[in-house]
Symmetry: C2
Amino acid sequence: MSGPSRLQEQLADAVLEYARDAGMTTGAHLPEPVLCERFKVSRTPVRAALSLLARRGYVRHVPRKGYFLARKPRGDRTAGTARSDEERLYLAIAEDRISRRLPDHVSEADLLRRYGVTRSLLGRVLQRLLHEGLVERRPGRGWMFAPVLDSQQAHDESYRFRIALEPLALLEPMFALDEAAAARSEEKHRAIVEGRVRAITPVELFEMNAEFHEIIAAGAQNRFFLQAVQQQNRLRRFVNYHWIYGPERALRTCREHLAVLAAIRAGDRVWAATLLRQHLESTGRVSPYEEGTSAPERLIRFD
Amino acid sequence: MSGPSRLQEQLADAVLEYARDAGMTTGAHLPEPVLCERFKVSRTPVRAALSLLARRGYVRHVPRKGYFLARKPRGDRTAGTARSDEERLYLAIAEDRISRRLPDHVSEADLLRRYGVTRSLLGRVLQRLLHEGLVERRPGRGWMFAPVLDSQQAHDESYRFRIALEPLALLEPMFALDEAAAARSEEKHRAIVEGRVRAITPVELFEMNAEFHEIIAAGAQNRFFLQAVQQQNRLRRFVNYHWIYGPERALRTCREHLAVLAAIRAGDRVWAATLLRQHLESTGRVSPYEEGTSAPERLIRFD
DNA sequence: AAACGTATTATATGCACAAAAAATACGTCG
DNA sequence: CGACGTATTTTTTGTGCATATAATACGTTT
């Protein structure tokens, strides 16, 4: 009775996303073997995920026939899945660190006591933080927060790195945009530019932005370009949780992104690279703490 | 009685390296607090490392006075430390994978049986492979080797990435070479060019090369440039264990490296960047398997 | 034949406890 | 006062076992 496993929860989310991206409508069949193939797992966890979705009303189970979509999944944050323990602990540590409630170096035991979580959960989160370059293991014992999190220096270095790298991705000879992904991204940008700025959450804005840059990097057809950009995004996701920008900034970013996409579509990648570099230079220049003239409830976290 | 810990072994190595780099001679005092400060650990492991070195004859212990250098440490692979279990398993897996004795995906239990090691050791090695991007965790169970290891595609992408990134490191406005490190590296290069090609091992060649590129990246004063180059080196270290080049190639690489350093010293970073790009382009072009005209015993692994 | 249901097997994970090792504190000697 | 020796405390690592869960096999239904 220990609830559904992580894999099962993930699969549940993934299945809904899959159904949505495949444009399925109510009543569509979700054959287990197809999902197994798609997600590279055996039928056991797939069935568990489906039964989970059934209990949550997303799919219907017909004995001897299988599972069928019960309602068309919405676009945003589909599954009823509340934030996982892992996500919660991750964010708690992030917040405590940024607000200096956590010192430069901490022992595992400290964290264990502080958050009252199991060793395995803490272990997973630390592993993730390690992978993202946010903490380092100290030689003897304990962990040390990398100065990535707080220093202005790191912020600047991140932008300089991206300014160097991302425009070059556009100039790679094999460059080819994932048209489908680009179209989806463009759609989201347009929605914002055309007035939906207030209706969108900061998290969505951040994710849209991150996705845009990853689509560009993926276009280079080179896993290392993509990897590098993804790493930068992970870093920024962590840090930007406490940064705040006004809506005018979000609009500007969207317009600049759209201009880059337009240049690529027009076949002028050199111009697109120039635009992208300018975009990064201008967004990187202003420190978030120097802005903040808007009223709090109208503020938008963005980069 | 389970032998010295990993940290102790590492420290033993590090202490010798430290003494060497500080230019200490026989009889020099090695105060514990200094070493603690330097290596960010408490006295306990430092003392253990020193007593280890004493047993191996590198230092002498005088009661109530401390530890003193017994003989001037040699430059290469100082400590008697044989390759650690971790290193051995790592290499065994690398070799088995590259020669296709290991399938695309394996379970942890498979590996446990195959190599007859403890879970904790295997866990550490897998963690390292994961960190280096060489394996991925499969969603359900088991591990999957990333195609980084074998494919020509990955090789090309790696070079393209480096060609894009490394010259730009040279052009960063804050660029400043670590003069001491550069001088040491230059020394090694000269030794090879001036005829010591045969006396040097493939491993040393690889490490010298990797170090050179890291020194350049570090010069950019930007942790992300350095991180990216370090990651590439880790990747290449794994793969290149089975690549073989002739000495003429090693010589050429050394000369090109020296030319880059000379250009930097002359203050012409733009020219240095051009030379570096050309160097990467030429070394990346030839597949190692297309060479190999020398007799086996004269072959040198290099990149 | 393709998909599902059920049962079996293999694998990994969580947890508790023992043992190792690092940090820390304090007294002593040069 | 700075470095060393010893003792104590705290933290981490290792190991075995029970449990959870994924993979697999095989029969059944559409």
